[in-house]
Amino acid sequence: MRRTVPVVIAFLSGFVMLVSFFFNPDRSILGRIESEVLSWVSIVAGFSMLLGVVSIVGVNWRVVRDRREGWGYKAITLVAVFVMAIPAMLPVSWSPLFGDGSGSIYDWLFQNLSATMMGTMFAMLAFYIASAAYRAFRARNAEATILLLTAILVMLWRIPMGEAFLRLFSDKLPDIINTYVMNGVNLAVQRGIIIGAALGAASMSLRIMLGIERTYMGRG
């Protein structure tokens, strides 16, 4: 019951998608089943996001309750969860501040705080990549030298000033980089990685459907 039933469910759920691929979904009952199953999956998977939020609230609440180190910051996280979520869940007919439309608390907090902070967090990576380039990007051996030279060449090619500089050597140099580096070696390596990863994903999918791969079920 605890393991066999989930394996059967996984097989049937995947089998529908597998079989429906070979038929025209518009003209068969299979298409309607496929469409229904996919909308079910979207709904069930949506609840997993809420499970994540419940887990975050639980972890932070325990720190605040026990007054552990940094509990004040965790309290801010908890307050932020509710200040963002509760007005969004209340009907907009009660107040224009509720719901998620323009002018709502939810929208205001997202546009002015979440989006700004998320942008800043990632903007900081520009400093780190510069620091890493300076401190760790060394031509220690042949492979590292190839990597370094390609990086410099591509960086120059990507910016207008650099492209103009490359043209000083040859007018065709930017086109050569685009053709032989980006659409040549880069394309080939990306293709190799795509093929390898896709074969891996397909075999893992088959293992899940056949019940060989069960780690997603956890223990017990």
Binding site: G46, V79, N112, L113, V154, N186
Partner: protein, 214 residues
């Protein structure tokens, strides 16, 4: 610019600078912003799932007067079963829901990865050799074929990389280094772009607001 807009800009600028302050060292302003961001993100997800899944995909189709889709209570029930994960004694019940999602995704992947990625990519590689004419395209086709094969061999770990296999893998690592170098070049642009976005805001909006205040 109204007073309210200026206040908004200053709040945004405060949190932007609070996060940037981490570049100097960890400090309370950064940690305040970091924890606030985590909470707001979790809250955003909650509001989004409430609206897009619970209301739009469940409640409204089930309760509408015309052609109600009452059977959607089943995926709703499966979704609720996921929460049994939080109760150790009955956490195994959540496997039914997980298996449904995992199996379905596996079914889609099995076909789409082979039909949508492996075959077209292989076809393109082989066809480029046959169909290319002239020195440039032929050279490009050879680079692509050699690059694809040597990359695949480099990542093939079932046999020791010696002899012909080792030589091909060596070519593979050179190709990979060129591709990673190109990737690094692109990544620099990506990271700088994000910084430009935030600096534009501070320069134009925040510093611009000083003119309004003074």
């Amino acid at each position: 610019m109204s007073g309210w807009e200026i206040l908004q800009i200053w709040i945004m600028a405060f949190f932007t600078l609070a996060l940037f302050s981490f570049l100097y060292r960890d400090n309370p302003a950064y940690r305040l912003a970091e924890h606030l961001f985590a909470g707001l993100s979790a809250g955003y997800y909650t509001g989004l799932i409430w609206k897009s899944v619970i209301i739009q995909q469940l409640w409204e189709p089930i309760t509408r007067a015309e052609n109600p889709r009452w059977w959607l209570v089943f995926p709703g029930f499966l979704g609720i079963l996921l929460f049994t994960r939080l109760i150790a004694r009955i956490s195994w019940v959540s496997r039914f829901s997980l298996a449904f999602v995992m199996g379905n995704t596996a079914g889609v992947y099995l076909v789409s990865q082979l039909h949508g990625l492996v075959l077209p990519q292989l076809r393109s590689t082989m066809q480029s050799v046959v169909s290319s004419k002239g020195f440039g395209p032929s050279l490009l086709a050879i680079i692509v074929v050699v690059g694809v094969i040597s990359t695949l061999i480099y990542f093939y770990f079932s046999k020791e990389h010696t002899g012909l296999l080792g030589g091909t893998a060596k070519v593979g690592i050179w190709c990979i280094m060129i591709a990673f170098g190109a990737h690094f070049g692109y990544t620099v642009m990506a990271r700088v772009s994000l910084l430009i976005g935030q600096v534009y805001f501070l320069w134009n909006d925040w510093l611009g607001s000083f003119k309004q205040i003074l």
